[in-house]
Structures are given as C-alpha cells and as structure tokens.
Symmetry: C2
Subunit: 144 residues, 2 copies
C-alpha cells in the first residue's frame, strides 16, 4: 500500500509529536531507535518532510526534529503520505493505466473509486494528534 519510506515517515510523524507536545526536540538517532528504522534512510525521509514543511529541523547540539504544537492537530496522515509517495494513491489507476477515468475506465475503475474515496477520507480525517495520543496512552505501538 505505502512505500517503506512512507511507512517510516508515518511512524516518525507519530512519534515526534509525543515529544513536541512537551517542547522536546528529538534527534534522528532517537527517532530511528523508537520506530525501529534504518538511521541514514530515516534521515532522508525526515529531511523530505522538513522540506515539505511538515516538521522543523535544527542542526547542532540539542538540535533535532520537532513539530510546532499548533500544527500537530492540523497536519493529517494524508499530508505525510502525499509528501513522500505523491498522489499515486489518490490518482493512480488500479491496473496502472496511464489514463484511466470515467471517460475511459479500466475494468476495475469504479470498484476502486469506492475504496479509494474511503481511504482518502480516512487519511484526511486522521490527525497526527490522534495518532500520537494512541501511542501516549499505550493503546498502540510502533515496534514489534
């Protein structure tokens, strides 16, 4: 469904707010450790999310990543997915046709529209705050 990169991106974006709510910056190594991901690869993804304005990064000692408190509630799961995997999950044809739409649909087009609309809605309705809360209360997990 999502690329590995996107999976790591989502996990990181779920963990970071947990600390940002207490104004704590988190380092790359802490993140990679907490979400059980390859460090250097994770760096690229975090960088990508920083460029997309989803998180803030600061260099130097005591530097790290952070999401401004106010944004934790407004950033949605879909924003992360879009920043990393692009619009393929929203626009792409289920069978990989270049041009597939209501005018010239592939055999599974209408079947997929239904599923994808629901997925879309879910991604745009789920905030990082909601995801982070699940973690904080011990209801959900990022490892194992």
């Amino acid at each position: 469904m999502f690329s590995k990169a996107c999976e790591y991106g989502i996990k990181a974006s779920t963990y970071i707010p947990l600390q940002s709510l207490q104004r704590r910056r988190v380092s790359l190594s802490e993140i990679a450790n907490e979400i059980d991901s390859p460090t250097a690869f994770t760096a690229k993804i975090l960088h990508q999310l920083a460029k997309a304005n989803i998180l803030d990064s600061t260099k130097g000692p005591a530097g790290g990543f952070q999401i401004p408190k106010a944004r934790i509630d407004t950033i949605k799961l879909g924003d992360i997915v879009f920043a990393i995997d692009g619009d393929s999950i929203y626009e792409g044809c289920g069978l990989g046709l270049d041009k597939c739409n209501a005018d010239k649909p592939c055999p599974v087009h209408y079947k997929f529209v239904v599923i994808r609309d629901e997925l879309k809605r879910m991604l745009q309705n789920t905030s990082l705050f909601e995801l982070a809360t699940g973690l904080e209360t011990g209801l959900t997990y990022l490892k194992r």
Copy 2:
C-alpha cells in the same frame, strides 16, 4: 496497491475469458499485445496463474491459454491477487510491523481494518465474468 506483476495478471485474466466464452484459446503474444505488457514477463505470470489452477495452458500449435467456461463465473478478482501477491494485502500491517493485530495494534491499525475489509469484500465479490463483460460491451478498456 498491486505489484506490476499482479496488474498484468488481472488484465490477462480479464481478457482471456472474453475468448474462452467462445472456446477460443489465446496465445501469449495475443495477450501481451491486448493488455500492453512485456511478453516474456507476462509469460511468467500466466505460468504462475496456471500453476495456481486459475487458467489452463496447452503447448504446441494452436495452443495457448484458456479458462474453462464454468469457472469464469466462480473465479474472483481476489483469487488472482492472492495467486500473485499473496496475502500481503489481506494480512500485512499498514506500517509494515511484523506483528500487528488487535492485541498490539500499530497506530493506524483500526483505521486500516475498515478500508481493508471493504477491499477484501470487493475482491471476493468481483468475478472474472463481470470484468470480462465490461470489456465486451465496450464499457471498459485495457489499454491507454
């Protein structure tokens, strides 16, 4: 969503019944041409589907691929997907965790269950007959 291999598999499985309904066997080259896929790679996938008992293949002149009439209605889209991509789409965690279930769910677990159940249902309710009919009536397309 699906692998390229699976996309080709679905397309082939949509085209073949169109001919099988008229007791016509189709050759690899015709299939690859009709679904606009790389020939040799398509051969592998068709072979895989043959081993999974989803289609019949016969060698020699006038050989090719076929799906017994009676089975066109009972084979579901989900059978093709399972034969090629395995159960990843049914079982895999949205964030790639090894063990993710109601006991120890990932942050998006419950959100995904809903989507996946609908996808599952769709895949198991859609028969090759239904897909082929769309093609035959000119309602859907396999190329471009």
